[in-house]
């Protein structure tokens, strides 16, 4: 399969990844509340992950089936973790 399909600019994506990484490190020094810092850092990490998935793993060009295979486990993990919050985080 050596098709000449258009692909993203891999170097440009890499630049963004590095920039976001630096932003994440910087965010940990920001004088915000703990919850806000964590949310920010997590959002940055998620953005990096999405960039890698869409561009390096070519998810952008894949069919709905592959998207489903990629997304469903993430949803499951999030659901499992959230369901367990009462038992571990919100202990009386």
């Amino acid at each position: 399969m050596s098709s000449e399909r258009a692909h993203p600019n891999y170097v440009a994506i890499w630049v963004w990844l590095v920039v976001l990484m630096i932003a994440g490190v910087a965010a940990s020094y920001l004088p915000l509340g703990k919850g806000a810092v964590i949310a920010l850092i997590f959002a940055i990490a998620a953005t990096k992950a999405v960039l890698v998935a869409l561009n390096y793993m070519h998810l952008k060009f894949e069919t709905g089936l592959i998207y489903a295979i990629a997304i469903i486990p993430i949803v499951l993990v999030l659901a499992m973790t959230l369901i367990l919050f009462p038992d571990f985080v919100f202990r009386r």
Partner: protein, 189 residues
């Protein structure tokens, strides 16, 4: 003995790609289970930030940079083989392998300096999670290096096609994505 052309298949997807994505789905559940457990345990306890402060965020940032770059070189290897550029394929594969080895090397240095400072897996819950999560991840990096090394060796004998590089790349990018989450979860919070 595959007869793709005649089969009622979903067009455009190769079996190899579906297989690797399903495998990655199961791996998401493994690391997700581990990371979810870490988040639950951490949010339900106190004092883990103090332990995490003993980690070296700068060194891990360098490691993150190493792994991100190796993802780029991996996908460049795929782009090269798609264009028929054998030399580019071997060069980028070699770079990916070396960057992966560098990652493991830095990790080994981190581990040894922690252990010499007295922080072992049994020191406390934060350290248990730290070693287990990064250790399992490192094993996956090692497996990826071995896969890429096999591709590199095969490429010298012109036995590699773009499809195999693409599939190996999917696995390598996944390992990168896991680290993208491990880094802030362990080092930045």
């Amino acid at each position: 003995m595959k007869t793709h052309a005649a089969t009622q298949a979903i067009s455009g997807i190769t079996p190899g790609k579906i297989a690797v994505w399903w495998f990655l789905a199961s791996e998401v559940m493994v690391f997700g289970g581990l990371i979810g457990s870490y988040i639950l345990a951490r949010l339900g306890s106190a004092g883990w930030s103090a332990e995490a402060a003993h980690l070296s965020a700068p060194m891990a940032a360098i490691n993150t940079f190493v792994l991100l770059t190796s993802s780029m070189t991996m996908v460049m290897a795929f782009a090269a083989v798609e264009k028929g550029n054998d030399r580019g394929l071997r060069t980028f594969l070699l770079l990916t392998i070396l960057l992966g080895v560098a990652f493991l090397g830095i990790k080994a240095y981190e581990y040894s300096s922690h252990i010499m400072a007295g922080f072992t897996p049994s020191t406390g819950p934060f350290w248990s999670f730290y070693y287990t999560m990064t250790g399992l991840h490192a094993l996956h990096v090692l497996a990826g290096i071995i896969i890429n090394l096999s591709l590199f060796v095969m490429a010298r004998g012109r036995l590699v096609n773009g499809h195999r590089v693409e599939l190996a790349g999917l696995y390598w990018h996944f390992v990168d994505v896991v680290w993208i989450f491990l880094f802030p979860l362990l080092y930045l919070t």
